[in-house]
Symmetry: C2
């Protein structure tokens, strides 16, 4: 196990508990004729994920004294988008994954059509949550969240990154394109998670930019570690199939840089990420700690 | 051909031209590495559709003197959502349709993974378009649009309706559930299309409610005609496979009511829809005409 400090472990567990409670309220059990859709959405979201993105939202928001009832809704919206992306990514036409966090993926537990619709429903719900006045009283803040989430999750962000990822299976990209791919596929949603707190707190631009720079480095480090886990981890530890990139002949940070240089690069990025937080005078300790955790994790 | 008045035909053609130009601007050609995604999205949207929903947005907005540059963006957002729903609906795991408007569906012209991502990208882009200040200067208006679209397109609207539609293949629903299914699957997005103009124009509640009531009846009439076309139309006329409901043993308005009563019901609904527009003192003539067109169409 990586060395997670007791305070970080407690903070991660607290985030997970609170975001799951919020998603429970957003996706209550139902006996409507279309209940299967809601069951599939719950299966996708209430599965003991790490909740890294909600953690970034909540602890970013903390820096600006944001009301926790508002921050948790933005955190839930981010997690809904993350879970939708996993459901669609796991489909047979995409990664064709049977397992996710050690449990059957949505299309395995239900069926493909339901998985497609559950993903669509989760994505749409994320925008509904952000647009609701309970997320923030100021419509300008809410529309800023919607605009930033749509950009991070869309064709110039996550969806575009997933398209590049598919193309990478048959095209040898150079390190510049791989970096752009990962920035879009994973980095932009991590950046939004950090910025959401700044948007909710109407933070001054230098503070918002510092969080964004932190998120940028963290996101890239996160992805390099993902590649390392795929190359070197075990299915038992990670809870999902491994060595898929190599099997697909896909260029990754690890295949291009080698494991040692990739690990050094991730370490350098995390140090850089931590330095971006200096502007918060030690109040961003949790964000520093989670950056360290991200490169030491085993799953 | 149904009898379309010259003025309606011209107005429909004008809407189609303007909404396609707007979508062209939102989805420009690109030579990025992920260009395939944008090509697939363009294939899904720039295909000579009827543009009924954009027509409702533009002519609803006209009633309240809304700036046309704003209205066209809301109209494009509605069409992006409509096109995304068709792309996902046509997938092998859903309706498994090879043709749409006489051309290959997105997963046939590209591949399944690209079709899934193109749909995801179109849905996300719709929210990005609405959140942009170019759609309306007032953030309250923009967030109202986002909230209403998310509700209409989501689990309590279109996505939930599509889930019910899948379940209808193996469950015999009664007429009440079929009506609810169609209200969610088609009606809620038609209702949003009509309400969008009222939201943009900050319409008084009685006028907004009148448009909503019109849309409700129009949406149901539209769906009954869809069922009639599926039961009685030809692939050559409709540009898509027909008699799929009967082949799937699915309960529809036509299978439950019979063709004659279904047609009478659609006629009654359109008359009712027109009466809801009396409050506009003849200024809603185009909306009356399009309601008539909707039940006389052959595709």
């Amino acid at each position: 196990m990586p060395s997670v400090s007791p305070s970080l472990a407690a903070a991660l567990a607290d985030t997970a508990e609170r975001v799951e409670a919020c998603i429970e309220r957003l996706l209550p059990r139902t006996d409507l004729a279309e209940a299967k859709l809601f069951h599939a959405m719950r299966h996708a979201c209430l599965n003991g994920g790490k909740r890294l993105r909600p953690f970034l939202v909540l602890h970013g928001a903390d820096l600006f004294g944001v009301n926790q009832d508002c921050a948790i809704r933005a955190a839930a919206a981010v997690e809904l988008v993350h879970c939708y992306s996993l459901v669609h990514d796991d489909l047979p036409a995409m990664d064709d994954a049977d397992l996710r966090r050690g449990k059957p993926t949505v299309h395995k537990a239900f069926d493909e059509a339901t998985a497609i619709l559950a993903g669509d429903g989760l994505l749409t719900m994320a925008f509904e949550v952000l647009a609701n006045p309970e997320t923030h009283e100021d419509p300008q803040v809410r529309i800023n969240l919607v605009a930033a989430l749509a950009r991070a999750a869309g064709t110039h962000g996550m969806v575009g990154g997933q398209m590049l990822d598919l193309i990478a299976e048959t095209t040898q990209f150079d390190i510049g394109t791989i970096t752009r791919l990962q920035r879009m596929k994973t980095g932009d949603m991590i950046a939004f998670s950090c910025e959401a707190g700044a948007i909710l707190g109407r933070a001054a631009p230098p503070l918002r930019h510092a969080l964004r720079a932190y998120a940028h480095d963290l996101g890239l480090a996160f992805q390099i570690v993902d590649d390392l886990l795929d190359a070197e981890g075990s299915e038992a530890e990670t809870g999902k199939p491994v060595q898929r990139d190599a099997a697909a002949g896909k260029a990754t940070f690890v295949s291009i840089l080698g494991a040692e240089r990739a690990r050094a690069q991730a370490e350098m990025l995390v140090q850089q990420a931590e330095r971006h937080l200096d502007i918060f005078d030690g109040r961003a300790d949790m964000l520093c700690q989670v950056a360290r955790y991200v490169i030491e994790r085993r799953s």
